[in-house]
């Protein structure tokens, strides 16, 4: 079924990074494996050396720093851990809601957020929401470490800024400013979402001071319709609700969805329009989840 490989189970991060440096083109990293094993079975990727990072202490840490108001999600933190974490629920209710509906409970028990991001499947939930939060991806290699904004991490369909000797060790998610509201909505007729919309609105004196809108699954990477974000600034809650349909249409016109079994380009743009309009209406409610 799966071609034989050499299994490495390092018990330290430097040990894992040395293996990736030694076999940059032939090594694959196993975290949850919920995407990797499918690809190995279909022989879409080859792995002469499999580096299981599950024995490395500390990579499963999930921490919220109250001072910097940022959530640190270690490479081994599963979707299910995020779904059930009270800290995540208190500070990032949109992440809790997103994780609750991701794939199915068997995949959530095994799959990791970092693995999902590193795989960069365009039809996925987390990247859309993480770009709305302006999350950062921490990468380590034997050469050193660097932090990449998630908007720069996603490069193309299944392509990221991750080097062949680098490991995603952590995803850092800053909480939005206080007085923010948000929503994440997606349409998922099969196992993977067909379109998604994440919005975070920051309010000052009853008007939207800053808006972040991200469209998922409808371009090679999660997409920010900057013009629509600009049009949201300065608007009141009532203005946004009244303009939601038009803003949704504007956002949809900027997408480049693929035509596939789930729909034509035109149909997917209709779905995006509706998702954006509903997300804007939802985020404009006084009682909306804080972003």
């Amino acid at each position: 079924m799966i071609d034989d490989f050499f299994l490495h189970q390092p018990d330290s991060l430097p040990g894992a990074l040395a293996l990736l440096a030694e076999h940059p083109d032939e090594a694959r990293v196993l975290a949850g494996g919920s995407e990797l094993i499918l690809l190995l079975k279909m022989r879409l990727v080859a792995s002469r050396h499999l580096v299981n990072i599950k024995k490395i202490p500390g990579l499963g840490d999930l921490r919220y720093d109250a001072e910097s108001r940022a959530l640190s999600v270690g490479a081994l933190v599963t979707h299910r851990t995020l779904e059930q974490s009270p800290i995540v629920h208190d500070h990032f209710p949109l992440i809790t809601a997103m994780e609750r509906q991701l794939a199915n409970v068997r995949i959530r028990n095994v799959g990791t957020l970092a693995g999902n991001v590193a795989f960069a499947e365009p039809h996925a939930d987390p990247g859309t929401l993480l770009l709305a939060y302006d999350a950062r991806v921490k990468l380590k290699s034997a050469r050193g470490e660097r932090t990449v904004k998630i908007g720069d991490f996603f490069v193309d369909y299944y392509q990221t800024a991750l080097g062949p000797d680098e490991l995603v060790t952590e995803i850092e998610i800053p909480a939005p400013p206080v007085n923010s509201t948000g929503a994440y909505l997606r349409f998922c007729p099969g196992e993977r979402p067909m379109a998604g919309a994440a919005v975070i609105l920051q309010w000052r004196n009853g008007a939207c001071a800053d808006a972040r809108l991200v469209l998922g699954c409808v371009a090679p990477t999660p997409l920010r319709p900057i013009d629509v974000e600009g049009a949201l600034a300065g608007k009141s809650r009532d203005d946004i609700r009244a303009a939601a349909e038009n803003l949704g249409a504007g956002a949809a016109s900027m997408t480049q969805p693929l035509e596939d079994i789930w729909g034509t380009v035109e149909y997917k743009r209709q779905i995006v329009k509706t998702l954006v309009a509903r997300a804007l209406v939802q985020a404009s409610q006084e009682s909306a989840a804080h972003g």
Partner: protein, 162 residues
């Protein structure tokens, strides 16, 4: 050190076991072909349908898409290990009583997924059952009886408690 075979120590259906596996061997193949536990079914082979569900340290997982070596140091429960010395598990009795299966192919996975639900939440609402069991497919579409079976199993478990 690198290896293409791995020595494992684990608990399988309550018994201590040791085995040598190829690093590339999948858990479902190990269970079915090496342990002769054919209650675990292969169907979609891509983590969607849930026919291959087993409980790994109590958590529902797809055995089609996990490596067997991940068993090391862990406990796995397959459908063969569910009945106890006093007979069938309440979930098994409830599925029989309520007709919670038609062709039966999805049943082991459904029952084990339902066990993980009831372990987390002994008294789920119908909506909670629907939401959680949404993970597994019954291609005969016998969902209503499966939901009733799980409600009945929760009842049986409550009755069994003093």
């Amino acid at each position: 050190m690198d290896e293409t075979t791995v020595s494992l120590k684990f608990r399988l259906n309550g018994r201590e076991c040791r085995a040598e596996v190829a690093a590339s061997e999948l858990l479902i193949d190990f269970l079915r072909d090496r342990m002769n536990l054919t209650g675990t079914k292969r169907s979609c082979d891509m983590e969607i349908c849930g026919a291959c569900t087993v409980l790994l340290d109590g958590k529902a997982v797809s055995s089609c898409s996990l490596f067997a070596f991940e068993l090391d140091g862990k406990e796995v429960l397959t459908i063969e290990g569910l009945a106890g010395p006093n007979g069938l598990h309440p979930l098994q009795r409830a599925f029989i009583e309520c007709g919670g299966f038609q062709c039966g192919f999805c049943t082991p996975g459904m029952i084990l997924l339902a066990k993980s639900l009831l372990d987390e939440k002994p008294d789920p609402t119908v909506d909670e059952i629907r939401d959680y069991m949404d993970a597994n497919l019954c291609r005969c579409t016998g969902y209503q009886m499966i939901i009733e079976s799980i409600q009945r199993a929760a009842e049986l478990a409550r009755e069994a408690k003093p």
